[in-house]
Symmetry: C2
Subunit: 258 residues, 2 copies
Amino acid sequence: MKVFKNKFAQYVDLADDAWSPLTKLDKKDGIFDAGEDLIVAGEDANEVFILQSGWALRYRLLEDGRRQIVNFMLPGDVFDLQSLADLKADHTVTAITECEVSVIPSKPFIAMLGQSSRLAAAFWWAAVQEESILREQIVRIGRRSARERIGHMLLELHRRYVGATGQETDQLVMPVTRSDIADALGLTPVHVSRTMSAMRRSGLISEERGSIILEDRERLARLSHFDTDYLHLKKLSLITPDRRSPPKRNGLLRVDAD
Amino acid sequence: MKVFKNKFAQYVDLADDAWSPLTKLDKKDGIFDAGEDLIVAGEDANEVFILQSGWALRYRLLEDGRRQIVNFMLPGDVFDLQSLADLKADHTVTAITECEVSVIPSKPFIAMLGQSSRLAAAFWWAAVQEESILREQIVRIGRRSARERIGHMLLELHRRYVGATGQETDQLVMPVTRSDIADALGLTPVHVSRTMSAMRRSGLISEERGSIILEDRERLARLSHFDTDYLHLKKLSLITPDRRSPPKRNGLLRVDAD
DNA sequence: CGCCCCGTTGAGGAGAGTCAATGGCTGTGG
DNA sequence: CCACAGCCATTGACTCTCCTCAACGGGGCG
């Protein structure tokens, strides 16, 4: 429940007792191993999941084997709120790492929303944020270069990760392969590898044993045009990188050097 | 209200009187000229729009002028349900043609949802469908070729158009330019033009004065791997039954104080 | 130890982008 | 009523980003 509160604290202040309807819910906690499916495309969806720890991803497979990762789920994330409409899942959700998950049948979940307008508002915000992330993903894939895509996604994941864990760090423990990144961004693993090597060489990022270090977030944000507006983080000054910082004093409008 | 019912009929059967809470709402109808903005990025969003006629699109502009169209809005579509969370709009919505729109302030809208669980379910479905369309857009852009993208999008728009108007036809009156299609699909107008010319030559589509005719929907669907599952069009009868609905505490959201 | 998965790197290819010129249509104003 | 401007679609020629195929090396693990 901790991560969860962290996440929501980015948007609302909820007194501890405001959470009680949620804690009292008839949910069951479970653990999924890395590689296990939480939700399978085509099956009925009638449960809401809250990820307590670990990473998961939602993807779709095309007929010929192409895969598109739609989005990543981090600790504190809630899904599928869409199950409340009692439809079939149209995508598969898989655990990338071991995942601790709370599973709540949608009926009691809906009932709970009806009982606390504050919780309802909080969850509505989560749904809005998720949708907003999807839209940004569209912009990212549709109109950005490989390097921009990668930088932009790293910054988003970093921000969300920090928001969920509450710990400020430049290091992003990121259990994903080049293929995962490629399938998320509409690229090939080979090209992702090349592009990230170049980013390493120019001092933007570095890597060690499954974690990525954002060496120069400022520059990374500039050249991938990252702007957190779409995450709708109301109050979070601690994480916001200095936006009114060093104006580039270069007569020429030169966004990315390197 | 007609289109609107058409659209929802794809999912739920609602008796005419089930709509009454909606018709009684304090909404105002308006007309937007082609090119006018309905919603502007960065401004507060606290109204829900229902498109009664016309086409609109939602887009985002990057700093250097690149544009990404996130999705199209057709008659019967509802947006921004996200305004219910009282945030700032993160995208701009513009009318492509003249648009008749119903504008409903979000507060009374939420209250209405609280009073009819059937309407709440219907709108929830609309929100789920919209999100699903976004996800499909990600798959489309991320993992499909130019021809697949175009064919796939034409089929989706056709499907939605037919669903909204209720009239079955292969002709799609589509008031969009090559640039619009390009910006929606992550391509350039030039390449869209070339690709569509090729599609015309192979008898997949034809065009006359602003409308596109799907000459061979079957083949088009096959080669663009179009599958309507993601539109969630089946009727499910088992949505929260409306019987004995207590006026409040029954919807998905409730505004009033706790 | 050997297998398999992953990341990397090279060489060559292709799909989509850029730049630019042309022609059709529509609307407007002299 | 015609001339002209603007926008849009089209087409050609050339470029470039990203893809494909392929080989190699490292690390984890049974």
